[in-house]
Symmetry: C2
């Protein structure tokens, strides 16, 4: 007589790998049943906690035997509920947090297990005079596995790209319990479909990432940060293009409208405008250099002078020292906080083709404000990535939130953009993806999901169904 | 009564798109039935030649209706018979050569149709002060579609990677006739599985690539080329790591054993050794700079001085001018020609993890020479890519060729390497892939192929079956 599948699976895992491998004390489980923003709540009778890739493979095999779906989890810092189990208790969480070793580090490459935090990887790379050039706010908690499975981005994408560009290979347990080992990190390997890249951004729906080989780059020897005032986003884009046609050392290029700057100056203590005059738009530019290179300030100065002469910018200043550079970045990083201090805000993580950014930022804002009169819309952020943080604030937001979001997503899709630039789909954006996603792509995704996970046991209800 | 499927498909294509869309004159077809190295010969009653993505989609739909498999073809410069139809005449060729337009070019990105040649793209990028940083010998014939479908590499991979790193998105007709449009080239887009990267390197087996959005980089302002003599491959790797830990401006790093240099000096007129003394191994190093950067020679000089002091190299010289730089590269590029002039040679396109390259180059050569006494084995090439050209020459080659190759592939696989670094699998390496490929990956590849191309009409008999 078959027992209940979930208790049977928990017992089987404990039997093989000891009590640590299946945690079921409610106090231990509770924090991991809710996403960190508190928007999604789920249930699970246990968190399975394998200590090695072989244990993950065995657990996936046992889960298939018992037909119990698994929800993989790293640092639980996702933004779209992708690591939160469903509320019906039909799944178990499989946490990769015990697998947190750095397996190897060498010039240009580190091999980290899925449960290692980003901050730990940064520290390890630093010890060897190198850096892992991706960072984001949750770096102390978020894990390599989660970053890889969600193709995370962050603030340094302009030059080095998202996780996808930095992942040289992954190790993953596939839904049939087999282990895909892509960790040799071959720089050239043309033996067919690239499973590693297919797993990057797959949100645990076709396999559980257990480790990744990651690209390291030389440590930054020096950086220079500039602030420029200008008339409109088109000129900002022209400035970026001018710079990118002359150098590949631009690592940050952030655009900020006057109203966002004003909010920061009003709500965030100790901030002051980098420039004396008033400008409709601002850009923050960061250039870096390697040990063997010349001073990045010497690189920015003539480019800014040329931009001034061409009428691309109205004024500019270079941070005189590191603390001024940090002050410039603090303005940029405080926008969300200043908006929240000002009143209700709704954020959208979207992207459009870089060339369309200027039009999108101005026209879309005007359209949203016309449709929802008690609202103010602002686009700011990573101009060079085509990734705008499109925020809408004001008294109309609490009432019209879902309608505003739907309008923004419609306009993004019309512009050939993405309703999820960085955060992924998870459970939060699944319906919108199904409504707006390109049918050819959705069809192909479903076919791949069905082919690799025919039993539907890998993070069900997320990304693709 | 159903007509014969192949004539019916040809008639249907002509009916819809005119006579140009289906070429069946034997004289016009003949050159495209054989791969350019003359190793694979096939048959096909017609070459279908669509002029637009919509025509490709319609043809794929018609082919599915008539159950006629299609073999996509670009410049027919492949190395593994991937674009050559089978000899039984069961397929038609679909050529992308009429689709050769540059659709758009902007700072950092070009959108090229599949049939555009690499040389044409280079010229277009050049006109805008940019470059497309991938090049290879067949540049005048090979096409963007073929380069993308095979994830081509070439001589500038060290800094910018293979096609995979340069493809921002692809447009492709999927086996069901739907069009996947990834050309918006969003730099950040986390809406699920990355079909674009899945199509890169898929050799036409799950879709026909019709266009690609490609990364452009600033034109090279200056280059500096150095030649160094050293004792062994481990020191060459240490030198590379020293340089890469200080700068990201190294674009070429090629390793050459003394016997290969000797062959070049002996057989290629006008060549001379860059260094006075004799060294067991040599490296050729190229550094480049953007407009805004300092002189790459000033970057290489202190690094070479440091390497000399540390005992990594025995001697080194910088090319004094562009013609000397070209003379250094000519030595490297003439190795294969010199070997052929010397006698029978067999080449292997393989890769191993970069860290294992030194051991692999020396130990494997010794093992092969021990097993096949009348042979001399030499590894040379892209040390920094882990991609060695492993050539075996001598009187034993004609007789033992297949046994030598099998031994090399076995040793590569044992070292965690790839039996196809650059050229792909096609029909030439399919059996060896099936013999040596990781079972988990082969299984996943077959599942994906079956899911996306259930009728098996996309380039059958290549890469995966």
């Amino acid at each position: 007589m078959p027992s209940e599948p979930i208790p049977a699976l928990i017992a089987a895992v404990r039997d093989r790998f000891g009590p640590k491998a299946a945690v079921s004390d409610p106090a231990d489980i509770e924090p991991w049943l809710t996403d960190w923003r508190g928007r999604f709540h789920g249930q699970a009778a246990a968190i399975l906690s394998p200590a090695s890739t072989e244990e993950v493979a065995a657990i996936v095999g046992l889960a298939a035997e018992h037909r119990v779906p698994l929800v993989p989890q790293g640092g639980n810092t996702g933004m779209v509920g992708g690591a939160t189990p469903p509320p019906d208790g039909s799944t178990l969480i499989i946490s990769l947090r015990r697998m947190n070793r750095l397996r190897a580090i060498d010039t240009g490459v580190a091999v980290a297990e899925a449960g290692m935090t980003l901050a730990d990887l940064h520290a390890k790379a630093d010890e060897t005079g190198q850096r892992f050039p991706l960072t984001l706010g949750a770096r102390g908690s978020c894990t390599i596995g989660g970053l890889t499975a969600t193709n995370a981005g962050g603030t340094q994408v302009l030059k080095f790209g998202t996780m996808r560009s930095l992942v040289l290979g992954v190790e993953a347990v596939l839904p049939d319990g087999s282990i895909h080992d892509g960790l040799s990190g071959l720089k050239k390997d043309n033996r067919g479909y690239n499973l590693d890249q297919l797993l990057v951004g797959s949100e645990g729906t076709i396999g559980i990432i257990t480790a990744a080989a990651l690209r390291l780059v030389p440590a930054v020897a020096a950086r220079s940060v500039a602030w420029a005032g200008l008339a409109d986003p088109q000129r900002a884009l022209d400035l970026l293009r001018l710079m990118q046609s002359r150098t590949d050392r631009i690592e940050g290029f952030e655009i900020i409208p006057a109203d966002c700057l004003d909010l920061v100056l009003q709500h965030i203590p100790g901030t002051r405008s980098p420039l004396g005059g008033r400008h409709a738009w601002h850009v923050l530019i960061e250039a870096t250099s390697d040990a063997a290179d010349n001073d990045p300030a010497e690189l920015l100065q003539p480019l800014l002078a040329e931009a001034l002469e061409r009428g691309l910018i109205e004024d500019a200043t270079l941070a005189a020292n590191e603390s001024q550079a940090e002050a410039f970045w603090r303005i940029r990083d405080s926008i969300s906080e200043a908006e929240r201090a000002d009143g209700p805000t709704i954020a959208h993580d979207i992207s459009v083709p870089v060339a369309d950014m200027p039009r999108f930022m101005t026209v879309t804002a005007a359209e949203v404000e016309a449709a929802f009169p008690a609202c103010k819309a602002s686009g700011f952020g990573h101009l060079g990535d085509g990734n705008v943080h499109f925020h809408v604030r004001g008294d109309g937001v609490p009432k019209h939130g879902p309608a505003i979001t739907q309008m923004v997503y419609d306009l993004v899709t019309l512009a050939g953009g993405s309703i999820s630039a960085e955060h992924g789909i998870g459970q939060m954006k699944l319906e919108e993806l199904e409504r707006l996603g390109p049918p050819a792509k959705l069809h192909a995704m479903r076919a791949i999901k069905q082919a690799l996970d025919p039993l539907g046991l890998m993070n069900p209800g997320k990304l693709v169904r």
